[in-house]
Symmetry: C2
Subunit: 217 residues, 2 copies
Amino acid sequence: MITVEQAIAAILEQIRPLGTERVHILAACGRVLAEDIISGLNVPPHDNSGMDGYAVRYADIEDARPDHPAWLSVAGDLAAGSVAAAALQPGQALRIMTGAPIPSGADTVVKKEDTILEGDIVGILSAGRRGLNVRCAGEDINTGAQVFTRGALLRPAHLGVLASIKRAVVSVYQRPQVAILSTGEELVDIDGDLAPGKIVTSNSYALAGLVADAGAE
Amino acid sequence: MITVEQAIAAILEQIRPLGTERVHILAACGRVLAEDIISGLNVPPHDNSGMDGYAVRYADIEDARPDHPAWLSVAGDLAAGSVAAAALQPGQALRIMTGAPIPSGADTVVKKEDTILEGDIVGILSAGRRGLNVRCAGEDINTGAQVFTRGALLRPAHLGVLASIKRAVVSVYQRPQVAILSTGEELVDIDGDLAPGKIVTSNSYALAGLVADAGAE
């Protein structure tokens, strides 16, 4: 007799990793990564706003308080995906949406709740600190950073990260092909004759489900 | 503004269950059952032995003790899947394997560890009780019992149970087909140009993985 641990060790000793194949990430969920993933770019790719509010020069607002707003002229709107036409000048603010790139000249975003708008003039009610509400390029992932390691089981969240670094295709291990042989004189298949002493080979079906669940064929 | 709960309720109010389709249980893992499953047979189908040992008549062994064995003649072997050729006679024992059907005439199984074999005579060292180590027909599932309920998410263990009651094909709900539309001026696809202000529509890919994980297409 050998122990369960010895039996498992004896089996695992015979296991060799399968070959690899390249798959699109939409087909990669549940697969096992066969390469280290290094990011070729920053995520986010550019400095951008973490709030809906106003992009400003911190020097213009550092004395702002609720009872002593800093007044700036609103030079325009900046939606996510668009880019400021010109650099922000002293005394100016740009209305900015979450995710929009920080315009040249600006270094801070004041969230909308900390402002009052009067016509095309905005009053900044709170200075916060320089750089507040600015999400920096590479804040999530830096260019050159190792994102995932060979052997990782790819789940939906991995697909999102791979997409964010523009990795549409990844190398994964081939799926094992598993045959199930249930033995025993008492076993009949699901459509077999349940003569006295016979039972359906039901474990075969549960095992087939578990094998598929584990990512094998 | 409506609350998250209101939004979810408004969406769910529009949801109607999809149609059903019939699938083989090997293709049913992860599907949602669209019928109640009633067993048409007993599981196990026949009384059988829960131990390797000897099938006996309890009346022959009720006085057995380690220092006063009950001696029986071994009338033969009974493996799982085979059936005794004749009923057990008084004074006889049949060597029986786990899972083998209880022979006619026997009512109790004495496990091998509680016996001593001398030639073709076996000494029973412990009486136990009548019916010990006998697994009764229907002990797991009775004919007519409801096994699973409509709406159950089928997992590997369900497949084993369905096979055991000879249900090769079941009715399941059709898989939802889900389209993912990510909107935003800032979004480009994975092979798009990450111009300033643009980011990859990475959530689309994570959502696609989650949708597939949830059993939709």
